[in-house]
Amino acid sequence: MSGNGTRLVLAALAVGAWAACASAQDAAQGKAKFDHTCAPCHGAGVGDDGRAMLPGTDALRIKYQGALPALLEQRTDLNAEAIRTFVRRGTWSMPPFRPTEVTERDIQDIAAYLRQSSGAARNGR
């Protein structure tokens, strides 16, 4: 019994470690995809022609007027479902992205990355 219990605890630990590892891996892949596909419009940094922000970041700054962060990487409310809606349907001048550009797996990974990046932003890192 005790032996079984140990095995169960070890198994749980192993699953937990695997999940954390998978999550870190998802977030890393999500960051790579975010940097490639989202950041050119929604990243930090200055925009063109003397503009203080990139267009997607600036548009969200104007839209939310400080109620939500302008930077997607600081948002805590963007789960995979929300990301999928914006990616697949587009919004305003952001066109939809096709499943060959951003796969379902990419959406999950980006969500994992935003969870991580917004947590880091909240903690001041």
Binding site: P55, S93, R98, P99
Partner: protein, 552 residues
């Protein structure tokens, strides 16, 4: 909202979809409304209308062999295909096909950079490679070449070249189709063809001599529908060591003529990069007296008021790529040449910077003079910063530019040509009661193509009415503009599918012999008309009755 390809039964279509799935995998064949939503033109003037150009399905092959299989199946079931690369051709239709119900062949997954040679200065890429992708590859591998990028960098090198897109560095590289170095094409019968030296199996110089031997059919694939390009080479500019710019202004309206002569000379000797023309008189448009003179093209009054305001009539920003010494020599020679031709011309040194520029240098807007030149694209750095023009900004916080269509007409590359086009465009806008977005008398051309001027038709459409009816009305007006332009000898270079028949109609010499010739070829090589029927007004026999269908 399931739709079928024209003339294809539901049973046949289902069989074709199964064959597509067998060829490329179920997960890369898209038929649901949700998936197909992203294959619509986000900026469509006919969104949600019964004739909106929506595909019946989309397929995402990963290899040339898979593209061949798709083409063979399409032939079997007589299903029209429409190929896209990264699908970002916004203002020109985005990913939407010419024929509603086509199957979109989405080449985005074919995103391999096959060769990028910084000693021989070329790249060979697949259609899914964007300008941003190639730029990052060059940076990551520290290669000594630049990308010549269009404004938004998310587009495909191949897709952009296929629609005769442009960039902003030296003349040779700005014409993206002109800078291609050969291609691989899946023909309408499913065979694979390589052009130029690529036609020689053991060739070591596919990307160096694009003509090969005999007739070169490459032109048929640009804005054409003779095959699906699966690989294409591009000449890349060697990274210069230095960049310099300078401003030239000339006092009088008629001085535009010798100014353009001088700049053409410099450009055609490859002594400068893209020149950016403009008018320092724009601020005077707020002055009633000047505005009246400008609207009436009263040249002497405009000159007098410009002189009293201490302003010159025209300006051109020149930019030079090379070494510190050669860029200085070219700038000094440019000043000497213009001064010889235009009394009273003034010159202002711009910046003189070692390349590659730092991020801070690219972002810097505090040069020696106010500049219109967008720094990142002149430095071959692709991005999406320009997208602010379509979206929410401080000046436009509650609407987006959903009527985003590009129409640019070819005008003569001379000062006389510009001054004439200004008046002609103003007349057309007046006759058709379309308020021009620009003060026509101050409008200047873009020199995207080294050997040609394009000038934009900028109209405020329908008083900003973005309702479905308003958009249809605006589209009808645009058709009238294209007809009027053609009467005056101005042809457009690019258009979205809803206007491609109208632009093709402008090119009517000798009872449309060019189109008749092209369609004769099309019928011979694509008897079922499956490759992008209607693209650029080229309609194969099985679909020819659809010509002009978007006008109804």
């Amino acid at each position: 909202m399931a739709i079928l390809p024209p003339g294809v039964s539901a049973e046949s279509f289902a069989s074709a979809v199964r064959e597509f799935q067998d060829a490329i995998g179920r997960e890369w064949v898209f038929t649901s409304d949700d998936d197909l939503y992203s294959y619509r033109d986000h900026f469509s003037y006919i969104k949600d209308q019964p004739n909106e150009l929506i595909p019946s399905a989309a397929v995402g092959p990963d290899t040339t062999e898979q593209v061949q299989a798709i083409v063979r199946t399409a032939n079997k079931y007589k299903i029209p295909l429409y190929a896209i690369s990264t699908g970002k051709n916004f203002a020109y239709g985005g990913p939407s096909p010419n024929v509603r119900g086509s199957v979109t062949v989405d080449l985005k997954r074919m995103n391999r950079i096959l060769v990028c040679d910084d000693k021989r200065h070329f790249a060979l890429v697949e259609p899914g490679v964007s300008y941003i992708d190639l730029y990052r590859h060059i940076q990551a591998n520290k290669l000594n070449v630049w990308v010549d990028t269009p404004d938004p960098g998310w587009g495909s090198l191949i897709g952009n070249a296929m629609d005769h897109g442009i960039g902003y560095t030296m003349g040779y590289y700005r014409d993206h189709f002109g800078a291609h170095t050969g291609m691989e094409v899946v023909l309408p019968n499913g065979e694979v063809m390589r052009t130029g030296m690529g036609a020689m199996p053991a060739s070591q110089s596919w990307q160096e001599y694009r003509h090969g031997y005999g007739p070169d059919p490459c032109g048929l694939f640009g804005q054409g529908n003779f095959g699906i390009v699966t690989k294409m080479g591009f000449r890349l500019m060697p990274a210069p060591e230095h960049w310099r710019n300078g401003l030239v202004t000339v006092p009088k309206r008629q001085d535009l003529i010798p100014l353009i002569e001088a700049v053409n000379y410099l450009c055609d000797l490859s002594m400068c990069g893209e020149p950016w023309y403009g008018s320092p008189l724009m601020p005077l448009m707020g002055n009633t007296e000047f505005r009246e003179a400008a609207l009436g093209f009263n040249e002497s009054a405009m000159d007098a008021q410009a002189a009293s305001a201490g302003l010159h009539s025209w300006q051109v920003e020149l930019q030079f790529y090379g070494s510190e010494r050669t860029t200085l020599a070219n700038w000094e020679y440019a000043q000497e040449l213009v001064a010889r031709k235009v009394p009273g011309a003034r010159f202002t040194n711009g910046e003189s910077l070692k390349t590659p520029l730092t991020r801070e240098q690219i972002a810097n807007t505090t040069g020696p003079y106010p500049t219109n030149m967008r720094r990142n694209i002149t430095q071959g750095v692709p991005g999406l910063g320009i997208w602010y023009m379509t979206g929410r900004t401080e000046r436009n916080p509650n609407a987006w530019n959903e009527t985003h269509i590009g129409l640019f007409s070819l005008i003569a590359r001379s000062g006389e040509g510009v001054l004439k086009a200004q008046k002609d465009f103003a007349d057309v806008a007046r006759r058709l009661e379309m308020p021009s977005l620009f003060p026509n008398a101050l409008q200047t051309p873009v020199n995207w193509y080294q050997f040609a001027f394009l000038m934009g038709n900028g109209f405020g459409l329908g008083g900003g009415d973005t309702s479905p009816a308003g958009k249809l009305k605006a589209t009808a007006k645009l058709r009238e503009v294209l007809q009027e332009n053609a009467k005056l000898g101005y042809g457009d270079y690019r258009a979205p599918p809803i206007l491609q028949d109208d632009v093709a109609d402008q090119y009517s010499f000798n009872d449309f012999v060019l189109r008749r010739f092209t369609e004769q070829l099309k019928d011979a090589v694509d008897p079922n008309g499956i490759i992008s029927p209607g693209r650029a007004g080229v309609w194969p026999a099985p679909f020819r009755s659809m010509r002009g269908g978007m006008r109804s």
